[in-house]
């Protein structure tokens, strides 16, 4: 991984800062993979192609051109509007764990020299759940795209609405979708990228409203959960149910793109849709991993 992204001010990230030489067991093929090799391979298992989940920071690092990222609303976060039992503690824990203030990073940057507004949800932050802050940040980012006449790229990875904010979180579906609706009316392109997993309220709002919808191989994509569906229909679901490939075959998404190809594919799409080209930034040495 590139490790160049300016870290947010929130806490200390310890994620994956393990001693060199450590081995990971692939959750799909069960092979032991040398961590460095996995990182070089963008956290895709070199044996079976399993796409490990990425944090939002990692996602942006492997997608955006170095140094070009301008973050929006880095310190915006949900409050605990309902006084919901345990929510405050969970928020604090998630912040500590991820080093992020919330479950999404938004900003603008360039992909292969094409400027775009971008958002990446972080499944490691309370399951990437959408509360007021995630909805607000997505909405603000979308509005910025409209104001600046820039494309919008969103990487989704979410379990759905954040139930600790009650209907306020459900309403973020409406708020974000309304903003996306205005973006479409403004004739600006929106590329939605579904990563593992993209489920619940996020699928039922901005994630399925892209002009073009991309997904990572094997990503879980669906509205209702497998368990509740199996309870309803009283039988087992096939293994590929709600995968990216399943959705492609069902006509719900445009393409399944491996992580290795994702950046180039987004760049081609942005070029096609006329995203503004910026002069490449002067080469600078990559910054140290942590501030």
């Amino acid at each position: 991984m590139l490790n160049w992204l300016r870290r947010p001010k929130y806490g200390t990230v310890e994620r994956r800062e393990m001693p060199a030489g450590i081995w990971d067991k692939c959750p799909r093929c069960r092979n032991l993979i040398y961590r460095k090799e996995l990182e070089r391979n963008l956290m895709v298992c070199p044996k079976c192609g399993y796409h490990h989940r990425l944090s939002a920071v990692e996602r942006l690092e492997i997608t955006l051109d170095q140094q070009a990222f301008q973050e929006y609303d880095a310190s915006l976060t949900s409050t605990d509007p309902l006084g919901f039992e345990g929510y405050g503690a969970k928020l604090a824990e998630a912040r500590e764990k991820t080093g992020q203030a919330e479950a999404v990073i938004t900003g603008d940057g360039t992909i292969d020299g094409r400027r775009t507004v971008v958002a990446a949800l972080d499944f490691h932050f309370m399951g990437g759940s959408m509360g007021s802050a995630v909805g607000e940040k997505i909405t603000r980012a979308t509005e910025r795209a409209v104001e600046s006449r820039l494309p919008l790229v969103i990487f989704s990875a979410s379990g759905g609405a954040r139930m600790q904010e009650g209907v306020l979180s459900l309403m973020q579906l409406a708020k974000t979708s309304a903003a996306i609706g205005r973006l479409h009316e403004a004739g600006l392109p929106y590329l939605s990228v579904m990563c593992d997993p993209t489920t619940g309220g996020v699928t039922a709002s901005f994630a399925f409203l892209g002009d073009i919808i991309l997904a990572e191989p094997g990503a879980l994509i669906g509205f209702a959960g497998r368990r509740v569906i199996e309870q309803t229909i009283r039988r087992k679901l096939p293994d590929d149910f709600q995968t990216a490939e399943f959705c492609l075959q069902r006509g719900l998404i445009d393409m399944v793109v491996s992580r290795a190809e994702m950046r180039a594919t987004l760049a081609r799409l942005l070029a096609f849709f006329g995203a503004p080209r910026v002069a490449p930034a002067p080469e600078e040495p990559a910054p140290a991993a942590q501030p």
Partner: protein
Amino acid sequence: MTQRPPRPAADLDHQLAELEQEIGRLHVRARDHSESRETEIAALEQRAAQLREEIYRNPSPWHIVQLARQAQRPRLVDFLGSLFTDVIEIHGDRLFRDDPALLTALGRFDGQPVVVLGHNRGKDTKENIARNFGMPYPEGYRKALRAMRLAEKFGYPVISFVDTTGAHPGDQAEERGQAEAIARNIQEMSRLKSPILVVVTGEGGSGGALAIAVGDAVLMLQYAVYTVISPEGCAAILWHDASRARDAAAALKLTARDLQDLGIVDEVLPEPLGGGHRDAEAVYRVVRDGLGRHLQALREVPREVLLDRRYAKYRRIGRVVETLAAGGDGDRAEARP
């Protein structure tokens, strides 16, 4: 958001149940032994009525969930019959299937043409099975969208009745893209060039509700609920204990008053003491009155203003803080309108 003092709703429930049992026993004894227990029974029944009224007057969120789920609550077809004239049901998404869980119709309200739609819950098991308990498949949402586009073509207002436990948790609904269908509806409703009035009449369950619930005015019956997840589901997921549904019901702030406080519901329509099923006519009256007032107000709004206001209405929903702004202490802020 106002906080009310907690009430011992559970105790009242318990006392009432005991009283009702005792009254039953007395009735049986009076019949079997030809004894007159009238005075005794009358006293107990008076006490029970007091208790009921106490409960009805200050129902807990969990009570309200029960009221919202009351089988005899007025349903869409009742509202159609009582509030609208010249009703003509229209069918189908023109794509795949006519979903009986979601009803769409043309009709007149106060003599003016409107498009009416909503979750089509039944009154009995047979009706409910035929209509999938008002839980739409994707084709139901798409049928609703078709009806709304029809309204838009002619500039007719849309009146949407929300009453569902939620989207259908089945494999076919997933295969046919229910997430896409819900997302599409939400987006299209946010930009539809017709006034949209929403009335949450029973259960407003998550995405399945929101898919027809984006509007210029969202009204809600006093004992309806509107929630991101069922209290049972919330308790099971968060606390691994479905029996804590009562606590979840309180925590989720799913009552009409709570949602009005949160800026999500524009008006709470009062119900008769003890719930709408006890006096359906009274419910029709408040809904008719509420719809009439809001429709009148919306009719006078120019189309562009309408859309801007609708956007602003949803734009400001949410509570966020800038945690690290100006030194890190956090400014509480409404979402920017």
